[in-house]
Symmetry: C2
Subunit: 233 residues, 2 copies
DNA sequence: ACCACTATTTGACCGGAATCAACAAACCGG
DNA sequence: CCGGTTTGTTGATTCCGGTCAAATAGTGGT
């Protein structure tokens, strides 16, 4: 974990918490902000560590995850460039990270000082509102995750995930999986073997083609039906 | 769903969003607040309904839940008196309820106008901070739920739930399940049959006694071990 | 380009938990 | 307090998806 070139103002503007600040608040946040880079596989923080910083991903990719006693890993979120994370720790009674974080690719980050951010927010209701919006959206995503874990079987979760990605990227003929199949399996709480079999089944059903990490949706309608539970015909 | 007696100021003070307001903000929030009561089984709102109100439970008990296509129900949260809910909808781009809500017992509620609350928050950073704290805590709870669904099997979830309740209530010899076994099963994403069998197993292991809805923890240490995955010996 | 390690796929097998069924107990509204 | 409905328990059976194993493909680093 090494220090690196300083973040530019333009980059920081993409950080929702600071996007409205030209003024003293931004200066203060910037002053103690620290550019950090991590290698592939390196751990940025561990669950339970004191959360002194809030993070913004500039480049690369990271995973937020939890581990079971047996060492099984559940990925809570995959962090891509432009995404900030760990904001919710700011307002927790015990300010610790609730998950582990490790880099899937070599990554550059900005770490903002938690106390400074709270200070900046104290007299900036607009920034508070932006943060409330961010957290609300995340909360909604978590509820969706809970639903899909509780109410959908493995193949449905896979089909749903692919359909979401397909739509999120504007329904292109072809799109790339955002991470390795192993990690996506971890995100969907499925074993890699099962994920592989799900993809095979969707191919055989004629819904899509898979070429390594590239997915080609050949029949969006069939994919939708698979996501609703009718992966036959 | 009928109107009822007006909420008192003291009751409203228990609402975290308003607890700091003696002033105009509280008056405004109170003005359009509406007391509502629902019968057992009645639906307060459905997933996707426009979220014009934020709710505070005064008496009774409600469930927040999602439904699968097949009609299976996953309970996201059980709402007891004093708890508010649906705050996160305030800051969503599309302001709709993300879950269904129905009463488990006859219940009295206060419904606050969403627009009014946003107005009150606009110039009250302290209230914003309280709300941020509330949402952060809920987020953390959701992450815990995701972990337990993804990384723990049915019996572990049950043991964990019981241990949590036991501790939450101050480790009393005896405590009451907060709802019917059917609903707790729904909260833990387990079939009622499986929940019943888990309780039987914990009894046979000598960890606790069950008398209808009353749980007596006879061996807390054993319960802890069961929650960690060693339900033998 | 080469090597070691990691990721992916496929097959065989097994076990946990859902489902189906039948009954017993508890509860609620009148 | 009664009757009907909902809730809870227990047994039998099924099957989804995890685990183990082994072979292959892919990747990053030097």
């Amino acid at each position: 974990m090494n220090d690196r070139r300083e973040p530019t103002i333009e980059e920081l503007r993409r950080f929702p918490l600071l996007s409205g600040l030209d003024e003293p608040g931004a200066a203060r946040a910037l002053a103690k902000a620290r550019a950090v880079s991590v290698e592939r596989g390196e751990t940025l923080f561990r669950q339970g560590d004191p959360a002194r910083r809030i993070w913004l991903c500039r480049t690369g990719q990271l995973k937020l995850y939890r581990l079971s006693d047996a060492g099984q890993e559940k990925i809570i979120a995959i962090i891509n460039p432009g995404r900030s994370f760990a904001e919710a720790t700011l307002f927790m009674p015990r300010r610790v990270y609730p998950v582990h974080c490790a880099a899937l690719k070599p990554s550059e980050l900005v770490g903002f000082d938690a106390d400074d951010l709270v200070e900046s927010l104290r007299d900036d209701p607009a920034a508070c509102f932006r943060l409330l919006g961010t957290l609300s959206m995340r909360m909604h995503e978590k509820i969706d995750q809970i639903e899909s874990l509780a109410l959908q079987n493995a193949h449905l979760r896979v089909a749903h995930y692919l359909l979401d990605e397909y739509r999120k990227q504007g329904e292109p003929e072809t799109f790339r999986l955002e991470a390795s199949k192993k990690h996506i399996a971890g995100l969907l709480a499925v074993q890699p073997e099962t994920f592989s079999r799900s993809l095979t089944a969707l191919q055989r059903a004629g819904a899509l083609d898979v070429d390594a990490r590239v997915i080609t949706v050949t029949d969006a309608h069939r994919l939708e039906r698979a996501a609703r539970g009718a992966l036959d015909s």
